[in-house]
């Protein structure tokens, strides 16, 4: 494919950001935007004469104007938009969480694989420079056999009892700390280790919210006896900025990583990688992070460029596939069910 014609469905906060990023990709041509709210479309249409505006995303998907779409509607609509895109042979980048049910996620993963269509979900931390270094170290077996992981995602997002607006106020629609934040750490574990095997226990709790949870914790088992304790809290007022922290405990050492950098502890020097015995700290800004265009961090760009490159070259994406995202979807729902049983 010479040029990839791209459309955006859902032109809210994420849609606005994604347009800016993907429009800088040299092989991408933006051809269409769909949103049910006409206010934004009215404002920008004068300035984007080559982009066709749709109020109904179905018309966009049937227009023949796009090879690929970026879906950033409220999460409850992801399933039907992805499905219709697949039926029309269109490659899809879908925002996270993938859908709101494991069955729907699985159906879409099967469909896109069968049709050989590029598919990716917006689990953006897979493109974070620190977590990529962690992945590299784990794959190189730097800290030996991993037995336990502590995974935390903390923020001060929700600080009042004021009910959330719109789709964010209901868990069934993809609202709540588990979906909005937890899903990112669950996916990271999928990225590092693979699919979960068993959920031993989970707890959802509230601090301010009434209709969704503010805290989610879970004990989960992975292959090779690896266990993980997840803790997500979006009402933690001590964090000015969201903090995603991971601690890996291995036989030969430990890795502690967060969005600002990583610390490695080795029981013995590793000559091959030139890492000494004891603690070694690498701040985020010491890691090379080549990125073609910066908007809101480097990860969003590298994520969307990976998608566009995959479509252009007709190959699988290096990002989170529908398959991997459906495994995370399953974990989310097992966590919900497990909590309800208690």
């Amino acid at each position: 494919m010479d040029k990839v014609r791209v459309g955006i469905i859902g032109f809210g906060r994420m849609g606005l950001t994604h347009y800016s990023i993907i429009n800088t990709h040299p092989a991408v041509e933006m051809t269409a935007i769909a949103d049910t709210s006409s206010m934004m479309l009215n404002m920008i249409k004068k300035y984007l004469p080559n982009v066709k505006m749709f109020e109904d995303y179905k018309d966009l998907l049937k227009s023949g104007l796009v090879d690929a779409v970026i879906i950033c509607t409220p999460s409850i609509l992801h399933y039907e938009a992805c499905k219709l895109a697949g039926e029309n042979g269109i490659a899809v980048f879908c925002e996270k969480p993938f859908t709101t049910s494991p069955e729907q996620s699985l159906e879409l993963a099967n469909m896109f694989e069968q049709k050989g269509l590029v598919n990716q979900v917006g689990y953006v931390y897979r493109f974070d420079v620190v977590f990529n270094k962690v992945k590299e170290y784990l794959d190189q077996n730097l800290i030996g056999k991993v037995s336990h992981v502590n995974a935390q995602f903390l923020s001060a997002t929700i600080q009042s009892t004021k009910p959330a607006k719109g789709w964010r106020s209901k868990r069934e629609n993809g609202g709540g700390a588990t979906y909005e934040m937890g899903s990112h750490v669950f996916d990271l574990m999928n990225f590092f280790i693979g699919k979960q095997q068993k959920v031993y226990g989970s707890l959802l709790n509230q601090v301010y919210s009434e209709s969704v949870e503010d805290i989610c914790s879970a004990e989960v088992q992975y292959a090779d006896g690896i266990t993980c304790s997840f803790h997500v809290n979006w009402s933690d007022y001590t964090y000015r900025k969201p903090m995603l922290k991971l601690d890996f405990h291995g036989t030969k050492g430990k890795i502690q990583a967060d969005l600002y950098g990583l610390k490695v502890y080795l029981r013995d020097e590793n000559k091959e990688h030139g890492i000494p015995e004891g603690w070694t700290t690498t701040p985020m800004n010491m890691l090379p992070d080549p990125t073609p265009y910066y908007v809101r961090g480097t990860s969003f760009t590298n994520q969307l460029y990976a998608f566009a490159d995959a479509v252009k070259e007709s190959r699988n994406t290096t990002g989170c596939s529908f398959r991997a995202a459906s495994e995370t979807q399953e974990l989310i729902h097992t966590i919900f069910e497990n909590n309800e049983k208690q």
Partner: protein, 292 residues
């Protein structure tokens, strides 16, 4: 084009931004929660010969500006390089209300912009979507009000906005911003960006010049997109009569000494550098190292 100051004193250190250490940032945030500690650092900077200040719009900017307005005689020779908008304010409001209600709130609640009061109400944003440029002018007026009465030399658009809008490849927005700032405020238009080579290329393509471009430039190549090499090429090829280039975060690398960091800055075809420091010693030694 009017020449900008070679050395400009920045403000990141006051607001809990430290590229090297989160702990250090928290510590400074605590110290500078008292505005007197901020003002004292400014006096230190001025006593080291610095005559220019870059200030980001945030919830402290108003009280800082008020102090300098109240003591105008004492600081009459200081030039100001403010940057707008105040991103967190907008981000919070947009999260809470949605984009257009947030714009409505900024323009019409508590900010009585002359002549448009009659439009208060939910229809106002709808009216402005027909004229996005007029909406931009009004948002800028609200932001610039913080700096009224100060000797402003250049108004910068902050990088989250510059880079987001730049991605859309819309010439009108950049052209209109520059014209408005020059005509109405009689100051230089400026852009802060993390994608300097891309921005410069676009501005050239659009025939927009007489602009100040501020971007992260440091020896380690931190926050320079797409690459340090592209920056060096763009800087070497630049005509400073068209674009005055300003380096920010020259020390962001952390592992590289101030001497080596500023030697790198000095070796480039740059017109200005903005740096921040919180002790008089550090300010003094930095000023000595800068030779643009």
């Amino acid at each position: 084009m009017e020449k900008i100051d070679k050395i400009i004193f920045g403000d990141n250190q006051f607001f809990g931004i430290n590229h090297r250490s989160q702990e250090k940032a928290e510590e400074l945030l605590k110290r500078f929660s008292d505005v007197h500690n901020i003002l004292k650092v400014y006096d230190d900077a001025f006593s080291c010969g610095i005559k220019a200040v870059m200030l980001n719009s945030n919830d402290r900017a108003e009280e800082i500006c008020q102090y300098f307005r109240d003591h105008k005689e004492k600081y009459s020779d200081i030039a100001w390089y403010p940057s707008v908008p105040y991103p967190h304010k907008y981000a919070d409001m947009v999260n809470e209300l949605g984009i257009f209600p947030a714009i409505n709130e900024v323009l019409f609640k508590g900010n009585s912009v002359g002549g448009v009061l009659g439009m208060i109400g939910k229809g106002a944003a709808a009216v402005f979507t027909k004229d996005a440029m007029r909406m931009m002018e009004m948002l800028l007026d609200v932001e610039f009000k913080i700096y009224r009465g100060l000797n402003v030399k250049c108004y910068f658009l902050l990088n989250p906005i510059t880079d987001l809008v730049l991605g859309y490849n819309i010439k009108d927005v950049f052209e209109h911003y520059c014209e408005y700032v020059q005509k109405k405020y009689k100051v230089l238009p400026g852009f802060i960006t993390l994608n300097m080579p891309y921005l410069k290329r676009k501005l050239e393509e659009w025939g927009i010049d007489n602009v100040v471009i501020c971007s992260t430039i440091n020896k380690a190549g931190f926050n320079m997109f797409p690459s340090k090499e592209e920056y060096e090429k763009a800087i070497a090829a630049n005509d400073p009569e068209k674009y005055q280039l300003m380096a920010m975060s020259p020390l962001a690398s952390g592992s590289i000494s101030p001497k080596e960091s500023f030697d790198y800055i000095n070796s480039l075809n740059l017109q200005s550098v903005v740096f921040g420091a919180s002790s008089k010693n550090h300010i003094e030694s930095s000023v000595e190292l800068i030779k643009l």
